[in-house]
């Protein structure tokens, strides 16, 4: 791989051992994918942040090893979700060791300089990449969102690759950083009518299965999707597949002109997503028996201000069923605004909780053992049965709220 004079100095250890390790690992990684050179990055979204899912002791060891060199991120950066609400963990009834480990990890990470956002949706709280810029992001759903909706460029990075890239300010140029690898290969013909964000989640869940690592393009969607729709399709695509990006023909920035998404080529495969596929996708993820629901979860990816506000309006003056837990997860900055606007009180009066910094899939210890969870997110519904040995149901926000009020699921 070609390295500039400055990069050679980093590679040869002239800028310290950590920079050398970071440079050598990224170069080796880039060479696997035939990278010809390094490329500067404009921003980063840093992970290794969730104590429970990133390895407990092993992630503290890893980040602790990095911290010995007192590294600082050299680009604007945000950080990814944690394993508990670090503002409000004392009210969550979680084991002490989770909070203790997480707070140690928090201190290590905040010492390296990213904004303490602790969210899976950094683009909602100020990390807004410019179209065409190179960025290094982790969090599978945010990667898909950044590539597809902003037209920024990131590969599927991982916690370690983003930290290394943020210390050296660059990464290897390959994959999604090159025009030719951003083309769609699979066409998904959407004939189903998508009525809400969860339907977009279903589309993503189906799309990830059929696309695998290939980039899909969607055609036939009858409206301009909302931010929330895009968040759900992004998260679900990166749940069933290793999809790094998608196009919506006529809508997303690299698919506005005829056949631009496919680079003038024909799709390898065309697959229909009709009413039948939509229905089957909901049925396919449904697990658990009976109609009793003891956990309703919204906010995967972390809810927008608008989503928290809408949930509050639906809950206003009502009571969540006793023995049913209702959580909505969002970024701490969004929660601050929600509290200022008074919606926090409405949700608490109804018996619900606003959680920040985390979600069940990143927390694993949530202070209780759910039996059946209803959620508006296909991603969260996918991970719950494996992680909590609980049933899960994906459904639109309105039915989630009804399930919370009644403690029952009505199909």
């Amino acid at each position: 791989m070609y390295l500039t004079k400055e990069e050679e100095r980093m590679y040869n250890g002239e800028c310290g051992e950590l920079i050398e390790w970071a440079m050598k690992t990224i170069v080796a990684w880039g060479e696997v994918f035939n990278a010809k050179r390094m490329v500067k990055i404009d921003c980063a979204h840093c992970s290794c942040s969730a104590y429970m899912v990133d390895g407990k002791k092993s992630i503290l060891d890893f980040m602790g090893d990095l911290a010995k060199s007192k590294p600082r991120v050299v680009v604007p950066a945000t950080c990814q979700v944690a394993s508990t609400d670090m503002v409000d963990w004392k009210n969550l009834n979680i084991p002490e060791y989770v909070a203790e480990g997480q707070l140690k990890l928090r201190d290590l990470i905040e010492g390296m300089g990213p904004a303490p956002t602790w969210t899976c949706a950094p683009y909602l709280v100020g990390n807004i990449p410019v179209g065409g810029s190179n960025i290094a992001w982790c969090e599978s759903s945010a990667i898909v969102y950044a590539n597809s909706v902003f037209g920024a460029r990131t590969n599927r990075e991982c916690g370690q690759s983003v930290w290394f890239a943020s210390f050296i300010g660059r990464t290897a140029e390959y994959g999604l950083r090159l025009d030719e690898n951003r083309r769609a290969r699979v066409l998904i013909d959407v004939t189903a009518s998508l009525k809400n964000e969860t339907d977009f989640g279903a589309l993503g869940y189906f799309g990830g299965k059929v696309a695998g690592l290939r980039i899909p393009a969607f055609k036939g969607i009858k409206k301009i999707p909302t931010v929330e729709d895009f968040m759900q399709v992004s998260a679900a695509l990166a749940t069933t597949g290793g999809v790094p990006m998608f196009h919506v023909l006529g809508v997303t920035p690299e698919a506005r002109r005829d056949n631009e998404a496919f680079g003038g080529e024909k799709p390898e495969e065309t697959i229909e997503f009709g009413e039948e596929e939509l229905k089957k996708t909901y049925e396919g993820i449904h697990s658990g028996s009976g109609d009793k629901v003891d956990f309703v979860f919204l906010g995967c990816p972390h809810a927008t201000y608008h989503q928290v506000k809408s949930a509050a309006e639906m809950l206003d003056g009502k009571k969540i069923k006793k023995d049913t837990t209702f959580w909505i997860a969002t970024a701490r900055q969004t929660r601050n605004l929600i509290e200022k606007a008074g919606y926090g009180n409405i949700i608490r009066a109804a018996g619900g909780k606003i959680i920040c910094d985390t979600c069940p899939a990143a927390a694993l210890e949530i202070g209780f053992k759910p039996q059946v969870m209803v959620t508006n997110s296909f991603k969260q519904a996918h991970y719950v049965p494996g992680q909590f040995k609980a049933g899960s149901i994906a459904s639109d926000t309105k039915s989630c709220i009804s399930a919370a009020l009644e403690g029952r699921w009505r199909a």
């Binding site: 899912v53 002791k57 092993s58 599978s140 590969n155 990075e157 695998g212 990166a238 996918h382 494996g386």
Partner: protein
Amino acid sequence: MKIMLRGRGVVKGFGEGEALVTRQGISFTGGVDIESGIIVEKNHELEGKSIVNKVLVFPAGKGSVGASSELYHASKAGTAPRAIINKQLDPPLVFGAILVKLPLMCDLNKDPIETIRTGDYVKVDATRGIVEITRK
């Protein structure tokens, strides 16, 4: 019976063990309980199987990009596979394999998922790009 395959050594090194083969992608975050090495993803064809000391053969990484942390954790916890054979490379999994020096191969001269069966004994020499399969 012995079968030899050739391919590209992506992360150099040698690893051997019993093969665990699937047509489905594997997500190390959420899909595998790293403390025990058991695959927990619901409805996965390997649900309940252990990856510990196995030669894992699957099409590609999928899902969360936490694969590198998970592989790092698994290598510390002693629950890592001995080698991985993929058909396509998912960047986070490759980064994790580089970090923990886990032999990783792809681009084999025959489809590894059709050729290797669960239970075969497999020697992966990713330095020379050779896979030796022994079937009982």
